[in-house]
Amino acid sequence: MTPGKRKLLGRNVGAMSREAVFETADAIESESREGYEVTRKRVLFEEVLLVTIHREVGVVYVTMTAILTVIFAGVAILSRSAPAVAISFGILALPFFIACVVRLILRLDYVSIFGRRSKAVMRFSVRKRRAREVYGRICSRALEVQRAIVERQTEEASPISEAPPPLPPEDLANDASGAAGST
């Protein structure tokens, strides 16, 4: 469990996976669900190696929606003699056609964060500016955290103190000067 506040950055919802990605004070958290089981992975900002952003169509999604469009539209065309059936199948084909066209036009923006031990992926279907913002935010946070660690390490590595060594106690100093005088 990770105590503390976290902010939802994005999701990665596919046919086989469902992930939510959050930002916490020191890491990116990725929660994937399998039924009631939640698996939480963390990509620490101090371990981030690479952050990427790219845009792709999603061939499987487009193919599936296109096939369903063709099937339903085909049935609608074939059953022109029965207008009620044709209209029903036409209406069924419409959402798949719209989904296919929207995906082809907008495409998906993916933001991936690779750490030393784990990774997190988010995808943005409509909010392109949000994808850019999240990408920039993760980069700046990782840079900030890693720079702070380097600064701390250099501080620790530098000499502890430049101050002169402490003087001996006064009575010892007097004894020493007395002994020097007597000789």
């Binding site: 981030v48 790219h54 792709e56 690779f114 784990s118 980069c139 620790e156």
Partner: protein, 198 residues
């Protein structure tokens, strides 16, 4: 669960070697498609770890097998080698020395750096919805009771995480209403049946 092997191409998932990890537009050597990237050089935690090792161990403790100037803080659970905090590769699977860690990772026998837990809030929500659906079959009360049980556990979970509990409060209210409704439904039936008998 797939084991993680380090940065890869976000398009084709081909492993990227250190030469390819750089800032700017990268063209994947495998799929030849571009993606924009920002590379980082995460600092090693060496200084911090050495000081921790020095602070944790008493004088005269065993030396680390890999770093003779570092005091050993534990030993590898696989090969028994004494290791310092710098060498301790513990990702929730017990302390491992770097070579055992690499071997286990190569064999995919290492549990990933992940936490698994049950989402009781989701379970409470599903039990509550199932209770609403099956309330006419007198199943509202047992489902609501299950929902309240999971909600109690969910509360504890959310408290530990410091997350909002508003959703769970709504679930509890609905579950209580289901129980009240279920009892009322049974009472109406009993009263009705007694009237019919008379």
């Amino acid at each position: 669960m797939q084991s993680y092997e380090g940065p890869s191409c976000p398009r084709c998932h081909a492993r990227l070697t250190a030469d390819w990890i750089q800032s700017g537009t990268i063209i994947c050597p495998d799929c030849n498609k571009p993606f924009e990237a920002t590379a980082f050089r995460p600092p090693q935690r060496r200084l911090e770890v050495v000081s921790v090792a020095a602070a944790l161990t008493p004088e005269g403790a065993n030396a680390c097998a890999n770093h003779e100037r570092n005091a050993a803080v534990t030993n590898c659970v696989r090969c028994g080698l004494f290791i310092c905090a710098l060498c301790n590769m513990d990702v929730g699977t017990g302390p491992h020395c770097p070579s055992c860690f690499d071997r286990l990772r190569a064999d995919d026998a290492l549990s990933p750096a992940a936490t698994r837990y049950r989402d009781y809030a989701s379970m409470a929500r599903i039990a509550m919805v199932a209770g609403l659906f099956f309330s006419f079959m007198f199943m509202g009360i047992p489902f609501a009771a299950a929902s309240l049980y999971y909600a109690r556990k969910g509360f504890k979970q959310l408290r530990e995480e410091g997350r909002s509990k508003i959703g769970l409060i709504i679930i509890i209210i609905f579950a209580l209403l289901e129980i009240i409704g279920g009892i009322a439904w049974i009472a109406i039936l009993i009263v009705g049946l007694s009237k019919v008998r008379k």
